[in-house]
Amino acid sequence: MELASLTDARLVARCRSGDEDAWRELVSRFSRYVYAISTQAFRLRQDDAEEVFQEVFARTYEYLDRLRDDEAIRPWIGQLTRRLCIDRLRAGGREELSGDEPASAGVDETMERLDEAFAVQEALASLSENCRDILDRFFAQDESYGTISAALDIPPGTIASRISRCLGKLREAFEGRKPTVEPSS
């Protein structure tokens, strides 16, 4: 079975058994989510975001044996990232802090949006490689039709219709998975 198609729980179990490829897949699976929390929910600078990113995965590896629920690794990583971002903001003294959270408006709303985006990313991973690639390049990587056309060797005139068709497939896949989304906040 391909690592990319393993459930979170099975992937965590493989990581715990020392499977190096499984660990690489785990980092790859959650990397965008962690990065987005630090840069969008907490608006960290790139250097701070990088520190938090490395620390999140270092601690995840360290705590693999102590996770209570392997299937809940995504909300666990979300919470860990959130805590480390707050620590980073406190250490940098760049926020007026009161209570447990920095006074950044909209953190919860952004976390909710990123949880939903993660579910979409999971649905995206279930599509064909062509669809995955074209949607990711166009929307997430902000590539132009010309760049996509050259990279995937497809006529520029067909890209808009392929995107539309792939979005349709994504909607079907997403709606089929939607009930499984759990918030991390």
Partner: protein, 83 residues
């Protein structure tokens, strides 16, 4: 597909842009690099000549012993050798 779904899905895909590749690679290699680091430090504690070589020229000493310095957190290693 109606316009709302299309726009919403597109917005959500945009919410998770790619991470710099070097960050991902470093996180993927970190646990194994730490294990290697532990091995090197243990070896340096047992072999004073190796330890002296590491302190004199870390990268050269690692290369001479077949390690790949680029794959290791060298600052961590320097700090641990200095302890």
């Amino acid at each position: 597909m109606n316009a709302y779904h299309e726009e919403r899905l597109a917005e959500l895909i945009r919410s998770l842009p790619p991470v710099p590749e070097a960050w991902v690679r470093a996180a993927q290699e970190l646990p194994f690099a730490r294990q290697l680091l532990d091995d090197i430090v243990a070896r340096a504690e047992a072999d004073l000549e190796f330890r002296r070589a590491l302190i004199a020229d870390l990268e050269q000493a690692l290369l001479a012993e077949g390690y790949e310095p680029d794959a290791l957190p060298l600052e961590d290693l320097r700090r641990r050798l200095a302890d």
